[in-house]
């Protein structure tokens, strides 16, 4: 049996920390990032520099502390946010693009054309700073398929190296996930970002990876908004001898146990 090589994008410090009540100090963020780096995580989404000075300081320290992992700065589709990420020294500038009509209309108050135009402006700013661009399709699981394809083609034309397919509200099933990922053209790396609202984040990530995705997003203990994100430990357990993320399950388990008091502080109910 061929074991396929895949990669983990850890978002404990960004999407994970957005879980209500979670809050890490700069020191705690650096400790978590160093541990993830030593573990063999390929990419670490270290936060949202646009949050302010503290976040930027954490970002700079994480960048210095990590030896191998590439550090991602998460951004709204907003030039001011992107400028902050570039200033913090992020290796990868990730731009989150609302993809469903619901988010475009209700949250942004814009239309599809506005989104495509604004994405182009953001991409140009990132290329001017000579940084790697990755694009995330927020709420892709509820978006129109044709618009998803249009966004992917735009992302590729704009020089994005990776396309993140986000099941933002965690409503996908494995078969829907397979169908969606299989439709994406193979000329861009795919990353799957699954939420656990129906308890299927691990299964959906596996199915996304089997359908051709190169990266899976996950968090320590599965922390994240609502019912959380794909739990890294659970993903490794479910894919043993099937997928190789370059991460030892045993090492993850002891490192995660060491980090538990930082992540949960006084609320040890994991």
């Amino acid at each position: 049996m061929t074991i396929k090589q895949k990669y983990i994008v850890d978002t404990t410090l960004r999407d994970g920390e957005q879980s209500p009540g979670m809050a890490f100090s700069i020191r705690e963020k650096v400790i978590i990032a160093k541990s993830l780096d030593a573990l063999g995580v390929a990419r670490i989404e270290a936060g949202t520099p646009a949050m302010g000075k503290e976040e930027c300081r954490a970002f700079e320290k994480i960048k210095l502390a990590c030896k191998k992992a590439r550090i991602i700065g998460w951004n709204r589709m907003n030039l001011a946010d992107i400028s902050q990420s570039i200033g913090c020294g992020a290796d990868i500038i990730h731009v989150c693009v609302p993809a469903s009509d619901l988010l475009i209309r209700e949250k942004l108050g814009k239309n599809r054309e506005d989104v495509l135009n604004h994405l182009t402006v953001c991409a140009n700013a990132i290329h001017s700073a000579k940084r790697e661009l990755t694009i995330g399709l927020e709420d892709a699981s509820r978006a129109d398929c044709d618009f998803i394809i249009q966004l992917i083609e735009t992302a590729r034309d704009l020089g994005a190296t990776t396309l993140r397919f986000s099941d933002t509200v965690g409503i996908m099933s494995p078969s829907l996930c397979k169908a969606a990922i299989s439709r994406i053209p193979r000329n861009i790396d795919i990353e799957v970002h699954m939420h656990n609202d129906l308890g299927m984040a691990v299964a959906n990530s596996i199915e996304g990876l089997r359908a051709g995705a190169k990266y899976a997003d996950s968090t320590l203990f599965g922390i994240g908004e609502r019912a959380g994100n794909c739990n890294l430990e659970h993903l490794l357990i479910a894919t043993q001898n099937q997928l190789d993320f370059g991460i030892s399950l045993a090492e993850l388990q002891w490192r995660q146990a060491d980090l538990k008091s930082i992540i949960y502080k006084n609320n040890l109910y994991a």
């Binding site: 209500p20 509200v169 691990v202 199915e207």
Partner: protein, 325 residues
């Protein structure tokens, strides 16, 4: 018609459990869409049944039972039995043969009614082909109870039903590594296959915690107490504009409620919303938000409404006073 079997009570020590609680737990399971509740012989004597159940119990000996819901025949309003028109239960034998057997060894001559367990690694295999083999096996009743030790049982259960399977066994809140009942029911509901009343799930969780003595994780999918708490500025902004933006189903539909909370990731809009709900002035909002973020980072949790009120008054009333937060 899909059959949903709940197995939660087969693993409880029910000796000390209050009979009313036990009956209510069964009622709630049926309300949310369970078709059959699996019971041990020991449990049968603890529940109220029609008189004929005693004979059935004797006949079944040490085997498990199914509890199913039936409705009494309609009675005239002046009939004294009219008041008892509530749902009734009946017992039926559980004659499923339970096996963790290789799919290729499934033999309809030996296995007429079978529950297949295990299958925890199905998601990394060609599960569609395996389901097809199972469905073409000629077995009369085929119930699946995939193990959840690899955290994929809900997905396996859903895909089984979508592939044409007719029966699935679950347990509430990932009890005993059975597929989590609440996740399976919600997945089937969102797929348009089931339509039970899931608003009782909050009550069911509370009762489950009481009966089992096990707390349900606050982030547990569908039934976690905190899953509708919203803190991050981006999500609060979206939810205040239209809750559907960041909620896969409404809190009310699963017996929960939404709560905007303040923490490290809160934005100005969240704070203004909270100040407004607490009838507090927003004149010092910008300064207050900094204090809130620092305090929450230090504590590693959200601020309570009382803490917010205290902090807001300190910041607003005396700019010269050092605020310890």
């Amino acid at each position: 018609m899909v059959t949903i079997i709940d197995r939660t009570l087969t693993t409880f020590n029910t000796d000390g459990i209050d009979l009313d609680d036990l009956n209510h737990f069964c009622d709630l399971l049926f309300t949310c869409g369970v078709t059959k509740i699996e019971l041990t012989p020991g449990l049968v004597s603890r529940l109220s049944f029609p008189a004929s159940a005693a004979n059935l119990k004797q006949w079944l000996g040490g085997r498990h039972f199914f509890l199913t819901r039936i409705y009494s025949a309609p009675t005239a309003p002046d009939d004294p039995r009219h008041k008892e028109s509530k749902p009734l239960w009946k017992l039926e034998p559980n004659d499923l043969l339970e096996k963790n057997i290789p799919i290729r060894k499934l033999d309809p001559r030996q296995h007429r009614k079978i529950r297949i367990t295990g299958l925890e690694d199905l998601m990394t295999r060609d599960y569609r082909a395996i389901f097809k083999t199972l469905l073409n096996s000629g077995v009369e009743i085929l119930d699946l109870c995939p193990n959840n030790q690899q955290h994929c049982a809900t997905a396996i259960a859903l895909e089984w039903i979508l592939a044409g399977g007719q029966s699935i066994s679950c347990g509430f809140a990932n009890h005993h590594h059975f597929p989590p009942l609440e996740e399976v029911l919600m997945s089937l509901s969102l797929s348009g296959i089931m339509n039970g009343d899931l608003s009782v799930l909050g009550e069911l969780r509370t009762l489950y915690e009481k009966l089992s003595g096990q707390p349900v994780g606050k982030m547990k999918a569908i039934i976690g107490e905190d899953i509708f708490k919203v803190e991050s500025g981006i999500h609060v902004d979206g939810v205040l504009k239209n809750p559907h933006t960041y909620e896969p189903f409404t809190p009310q539909s699963v017996g929960n409620q939404r709560e905007i909370v303040l923490g490290k990731h809160s934005g100005q809009k969240s704070l203004l919303y909270k100040l407004n709900t607490q009838n507090l002035s927003d004149s010092a909002a910008r300064c207050l938000l900094k204090h809130i973020k620092a305090r929450c980072t230090q504590l590693g949790r959200n601020l309570s409404d009382l803490e917010l009120v205290t902090l807001a008054r300190e910041v607003e009333n005396d700019d010269q006073t050092k605020v310890y937060c």
